[in-house]
Amino acid sequence: MKVPLWRPRQKQELDQEIRSHLEESIHERIERGASREQAEAAARREFGNVIAVTETTRDMWGWAWLDRLAQDLRYGLRMLSKHPAFTAVAVLTLALGIGANSAIFSVINAALLRPLPVAAPERLVALNNAGQQRGFPTFSYPNYRDLRDQNRTLADLIAYRFAPVSLSHAGVNQRVWGTLVSGNYFAALGVRPQLGRLIGTADDLMPDSHPVAVLSYNSWHKRFGGRRDLIGRDLIVNGRGYQVIGVAPDGFSGTETIAAPEIWFPIAMQSAIEIGADWLEQRDREPLLLQGRLKSGVTPAAAQADLNAIARRLAREFPDANQGLEIELSKAGLVGKSLRGAAVGFAALLMAVVGLVLLLACTNLANLLLARATERRQEIAVRMALGASRGRLMRQLVTESLLLAAAAGAVGLAPVLWPVQLRVQLRPPIDFPIALEVRSDPRVLLFAALLTIVTGLLFGLLPAWRATQAQVAPVLKGGEWFAGRRPSWTRGSVIVLQVALSLVLLIAGGLMLRALRQAQTLDLGFVPEHAVEVTFDLRLQGYDEARGRALQQQLVERVRELPIVQAAGLADLVPVDLHFAHLPVFIAGAAPQRSANAPVALTSRISPGYLQAMGTALLAGSDFSDHDVETSVLVAIVNQTFAERFWPGENPIGKRFSLGDPNEPKLHVVGIAQDGKYSGLGEDPKPFVYRSLWQSYSGSTSVVVRGRSGAQSMIAAVRRELRRLDPQMPIAAATPLGDRLKLALLPARIAATLLGAFALLGLVLAAVGIYGLISYAVSRRTQELGVRMALGARKRDVLRLVIGQGMRPALLGILLGWPAAFALTRLMKSVLYGVSATDPLTYIAVAALLTAVALLACYLPARRATQVDPITALRYE
């Protein structure tokens, strides 16, 4: 169908029809003897309002709304291009708000909203081990097997585990991340191969029997140039051949949204992939993440009840490992519930912040439009007198705001459509392959479009309503329509809102800044400066325990000899790290407890010299020595919290306990170390146990080196020594020790940067708003102020009068902003290290700052008011 958007012909014809009506009427009157002028006047009087008739007649054409829209758009564009400065300011302000919202939303969309690239993602649920106190929501393999085989509500239950491997390719060993998956993994997810076939149940039946691998599409392209003849060949992984059986489809990188491992192996190969690991038959080792696919028609609640019935049975049958086993289902995609909670909280905080900024931008624009409405009252009154209805005029004005919003939406969305840049900036300093593909999909565009429309209405409706309240006659007579001497309540309340909003933003930003500063003085329990860490994994190179330990001892000895090195030591894990083992503690002589109920402590294995290299103080006792060997008495160093919790008021040196299992050999406490941060900067003090690496071997270690030289030269030296011991050794990571803190502080840093920038923006917007309001009020009151001064008012009185007028709404805004900030900053608890969300200093300082800015914004126009010359003011009208 043709859309007659402009209909020039039809319009001309209607005009002609109306002209001919008038002409016929005039002719008739002349024929009856009237003069030409009389006839014309009478005919016009009889006809009535030509414009109104034209408009109502056009309504009958069916496309009238479209026609009027086109007219409104044209008119709106003309108005906007006539005031380029206003338009630019408005569009930029709004573009900032809409852009920030869309950008944050597209990140949230990628991390939280976009469905996983599998068949029927809505029926996929993650299983969380709710009874587990140890961080990740993981399960043991025997429990997985029982849950999989005994449940009646899941079509499939899959298990997987991320594991780093050493991939030999073109003569180089590289550390890449793989995933161990159960045999039903790909079939359950409904994923079809890009090439070859995927891992099936037959590949996962017998331990160690099917060395096969499936490559991710990206890995196949990046590492192997997308060669099709790769299928059927062997890849060397951890020194062993794995046949490549297929390539996964483009876009599939597993069932965790942000993780992007490169290779999939059957779980049955676990002891070769995680060299030395042996958990297939161990119910108290919990390495696996589980996801289930609900049978159709089964609710998550029903499935959870079904699984918990099995869990209770398993707890009765295997109380040592399973007591308290409880399963909770959650949405799949962010490592069960463990990341989702934090991610949703952080996302909510960011959305709230950018939402506030947009709201601020809206209030400012509404303010500008209100001011312009006063300027335009003449034009509006004329149009009303000519027969335009109030609805029509409001529609016209709102169309203008929507036009502004649309332009701003287009400008603001531009950076979001530039996903490359965003992806680079979001790459966090972490060893694990993170792929958060921030791209604008229809959901983002829809969000931006909705936001634009809502915004346009938000800042457009109120001014339009106010503007069309004009009474026609007084305005046309040149009198005052806007006769009130005070600024209207609308503009006053806009100031209240603005001040409240920017107070909230400033408090949030101030808290973040204080938290970041606090984090720098936070007692970490180690000294990150002047030290480096170099991580390598001997298992991936095929070392057994004897050879591995020999290499570790040699390496530490050689590095210590280096002139630039003050101290060096090894550890299997270095803080701050999420992967510290949580093990149950059994104190010798205390009442026996089941392992599922025992209190837990974090633990790591360290060599002599490590604590010194970390800068961790030994408060009592002594460090490990090289004479502690497997055959001598087992030693442990515990931290202060551990000592106080288990032996309050006693001397812990010489006490004994076992870790993991009450039957394990007892460890003897030889030293007390200071407390520290282990898994995160926001954590409370946790009990921690150091064991001797020489007594409890680990093939994957980091060497920590403290020295006088620069970080890069120390790293190079360690590398050199390592290569001398094994030229092929792949190095997983080599960084200054402080780099880990960057990751731990990343959320806080993002939040602080955003909040800081937005809070500043909010402050400027509020200041401009107050200044605009008071300037306007002063210009309206020129005459009154002149009279007052003529009657003897002093400058001080005028100043007080004008400033008081602006400060009243500003102070009200501060009063209202406090509780709002109090409510919002609760969301920030997880990123505020060592600062209370109700930190009174921040609250008061920010309020003082805002008051000062508001005072300045009022003072400038107020001073102008005192310079009013009474004579000029009185002569004005």
Partner: protein, 126 residues
């Protein structure tokens, strides 16, 4: 202020507000006697109603364009006796049918109103 014999206000009140939808019927009826332009239609309605119905242009033209859209009347440009280019409307076949339906409906309506009014009258009389 006087305008001829009748005060302006009074003259206005003596006109009868057209019932909703009645204008369509009057226009169709007027066109039954031959094609006319807008001004001609309004003049005819006024004359045939003894000056009682003064059709507002603000109602007439929307009605004409609406009827045209419903294809009950059709329009073409002609030249009037005053050498004026005028838009002349004529009744279509569909319009003629519509006129018959609307006329009979109007007839039933006015009979019904008359019946009610007469019944009321005889009751008070009786």
């Amino acid at each position: 202020m006087y305008n001829g014999m009748v005060p302006a206000k009074q003259r206005y009140q003596s006109r009868i507000e057209l019932l909703q939808g009645t204008l369509d019927l009057l226009i169709l009826q007027t066109l039954q006697w031959g094609p006319r332009h807008g001004y001609g239609i309004s003049r005819a309605i006024r004359a045939n109603s003894n000056q009682l119905f003064q059709v507002e242009t603000g109602s007439l033209y929307p009605a004409l364009h609406r009827l045209e859209r419903q294809k009950w009347i059709a329009a073409e440009w002609k030249t009037s006796e005053h050498q004026q280019r005028v838009r002349v409307y004529r009744l279509t076949v569909q319009g003629r049918k519509q006129l018959l339906t609307q006329r009979s409906r109007w007839q039933r309506f006015s009979d019904a109103v008359a019946g009610v009014l007469n019944a009321a009258g005889s009751e008070t009389a009786g």
